[in-house]
């Protein structure tokens, strides 16, 4: 039995969302009267295991084999699938990051099991796990269940409370060997360019987001830049020197609308929305964003939305709890100053 939780790690540290997966797993384990087994592959697996123990895992399966030091679908899925065939857990849970989605879908395929992805709520009915998930970009919700012995669940980040750490860790740690993978499907990581230091959008508690309105920056570009180039310069200057100070004061991540991304103001990694990232921070501050339906799809579930827009009729105000009608290039610096004053008083 047991409920498996894959604790996703990066550079030897557990991702915050993994503890949310552990929290969601507690719900399942409680209803099945079973315990939780945390799975950690790669570097620092043993020390992360003891943290998983403090957060409620009774058991841990670790594998620190050299072939698993870095996440790769083929090596991780081979091991996870073999463990599932062998131990038959009632459920396998992880957070729906890029890797979590890939790994659980792969192992569900290997073991011919059902998977419910991007779950925001879980309950048990007649011995079956029922997951609620958004569909059609959150325009509708659906309830799904699986008919197989093991139910795979990926949870949406920030939808479940994280399992909190206690003082004691009585976790029983078991080390397992890696499973060999055919040469033909092995991938080789040649290079990695980190974006360390930036707050990850999907984990962020606060997001400051800028849209096409960022281009209406009163700052003047250098004389040799004109036309579209000048517009891009203005918008980039706005993200760097108007939005970033606010984000830094708040410890926030920076988001953007698709219009801003497509116009070349900011890289795609920052896009929030239906064809960008889906986020649910405690606070989302939309600056110079009109609030198109496709943008809403990515941020509608933020706890508190603040809109700063010079057009009082912009649809974003219908979604916002608080709004300031005005030029973002006046309002944002004033907001940064007011926050600094309040935080230091």
């Amino acid at each position: 039995m047991s409920v498996f939780v894959w604790i996703e790690t990066f550079a030897g540290r557990a991702l915050p969302g993994s503890w949310e997966a552990l929290g969601a797993a507690e719900k399942i384990a409680g209803s099945f009267d079973t315990d939780i087994t945390a799975l950690m592959f790669g570097a620092e697996a043993a020390s992360i295991a003891s943290e998983a123990g403090r957060r409620g895992a009774a058991r841990a399966i670790v594998c620190a084999d050299g072939s698993l030091l870095e996440y790769r679908q083929e090596t991780y899925a081979a091991l996870l699938s073999a463990l599932i065939q062998d131990r038959r857990p009632v459920a396998v849970v992880s957070v729906a990051t890029n890797r979590g989605r890939e790994l659980l879908a792969s192992a569900a395929g290997d073991t011919e099991s059902g998977l419910i992805s991007d779950v925001i709520d879980l309950r048990l009915e007649d011995g079956k796990i029922i997951g609620t998930r958004p569909a059609y970009a959150g325009k509708v919700l659906m309830e799904m269940t699986c008919h197989t012995a093991t139910t795979f669940v990926t949870i949406r980040g920030r939808a479940f409370p994280a399992a909190t750490p206690g003082d004691e860790s009585a976790v029983a740690v078991e080390e397992v060997a890696a499973i060999p993978v055919p040469e033909s499907i092995q991938t080789e990581v040649l290079d990695f360019a980190s974006e360390a230091g930036k707050v990850n959008l999907t984990d962020a508690a606060v997001i400051v987001s800028g849209g096409r309105g960022m281009a209406n920056n009163p700052a003047a570009p250098p004389g040799d830049i004109s036309g579209d180039e000048a517009t891009i310069w203005k918008a980039k200057d706005g993200y760097a020197n108007t939005l970033t100070p606010l984000a830094q004061t708040l410890g926030a991540a920076i988001g953007a609308s698709r219009a801003a991304v497509d116009a070349g103001y900011i890289p795609y990694e920052h896009q929030v929305g239906q064809t960008g990232k889906v986020v649910s921070p405690d606070l989302y501050i939309a600056c110079g964003i009109s609030g198109a339906i496709q943008h809403q799809a990515g941020m509608r579930n933020s706890k508190i939305i603040v809109a700063i827009n010079k057009d009082a009729q912009a649809p974003i105000f219908k979604l916002a709890r608080y709004g300031i009608v005005g030029d973002l290039y006046d309002v944002v610096p004033a907001l940064t100053a007011a926050l600094k004053e309040r935080l230091h008083s």
């Binding site: 890029n98 059902g114 992805s117 509708v140 008919h147 974006e195 405690d282 799809a297 509608r300």
Partner: protein, 261 residues
């Protein structure tokens, strides 16, 4: 000669209102469907890859005739061959059933080097099809690809840039492979007049499970119920004040009261 295959289907327009009707079914009225927006990038990449290698391109949809619209759009963009797979009575939304049919079709085509998917479908976003097809075929899986840096179909090798939440990786791997691509990998083209005319005339073959010789697995999942999300009661407060500084200070106070700071 390389053969590049892509999968796509029709999804409701992203601007459409979608709701659950009083029979409990999902509807978007009579708004037209579009090709899954994430697939504009995979279709473009398929066309580019087939062209640069002097090879073949094929687009496959699994499901009812509704998806012919997406296939026609793909032909209009420039994909050479289209194919639809339909097995009446099978739950083609279940990812195990889906991947069995998809893998069967790839094996029947026989000479495929590379399969290109979009990141996800904007409506169901099941996030499983791509990965489970790779596992069934026993092929290399490269997901969330933001650039194909090198590919040599004769030598059977590929090098890509891949997006992680923490940064970008460069990965080398062997073909055949299944990849999923991100927005930003290319600029999808618009269908031109000739393409649209070609698509209008195209006859799309439909294969059944028997045609491709696969025995379907039992579906692993069931959708139990669709619901309209609870209405969020939002009352918007436009923060007022004497000047911008006063408005900003008032907003900060509200945010502290809300305990989000």
């Amino acid at each position: 000669m390389a053969h590049i295959v892509t999968f796509t289907r029709s999804t409701p327009d992203t601007a459409a209102k979608v709701w659950v009707d009083n029979k409990g079914e999902v509807t978007w009225g009579d708004v037209a469907t579009v090709v899954n927006p994430w697939d504009e990038y995979s279709l473009e990449e398929t066309i580019v890859q087939a062209k640069s290698s002097g090879g073949e391109s094929t687009v496959i949809a699994i499901g009812p005739a509704l998806h012919d619209d997406a296939l026609k759009h793909s032909i209009a963009m420039g994909v050479k061959n289209a194919l639809r797979i339909e097995e009446p009575g099978a739950d083609m939304n279940d990812s195990l059933v889906w991947s069995a049919l998809a893998a069967g079709a790839i094996q029947k085509l026989g000479d495929v080097d590379l399969i290109i998917f979009g990141k996800e479908s904007v409506d169901a976003a099941t996030d499983q099809h791509t990965f489970q097809l790779a596992r069934r075929l026993g092929w290399t899986m490269l997901s969330y690809v933001s650039a194909i840096l090198e590919v040599d179909y004769a030598a059977g090798v590929i090098k890509v840039e891949k997006m992680l939440e923490q940064g970008k990786q460069v990965i080398a791997a062997k073909l055949p492979a299944v990849i999923s691509v991100m927005k930003g990998i290319n600029e999808p083209r618009y269908p031109n007049f000739l393409g649209i005319r070609k698509a209008a005339k195209a006859q799309i073959p439909v294969w059944s499970a028997e045609d491709i010789g696969v025995a379907l697995p039992q579906p692993a999942t069931s959708a139990l119920r669709y619901m309209n999300p609870p209405a969020r009661a939002i009352s918007t407060e436009i923060v007022e004040g004497e000047d911008t500084a006063a408005k900003a200070a008032a907003l900060v106070e509200r945010l502290f009261e809300e305990k989000v700071l």
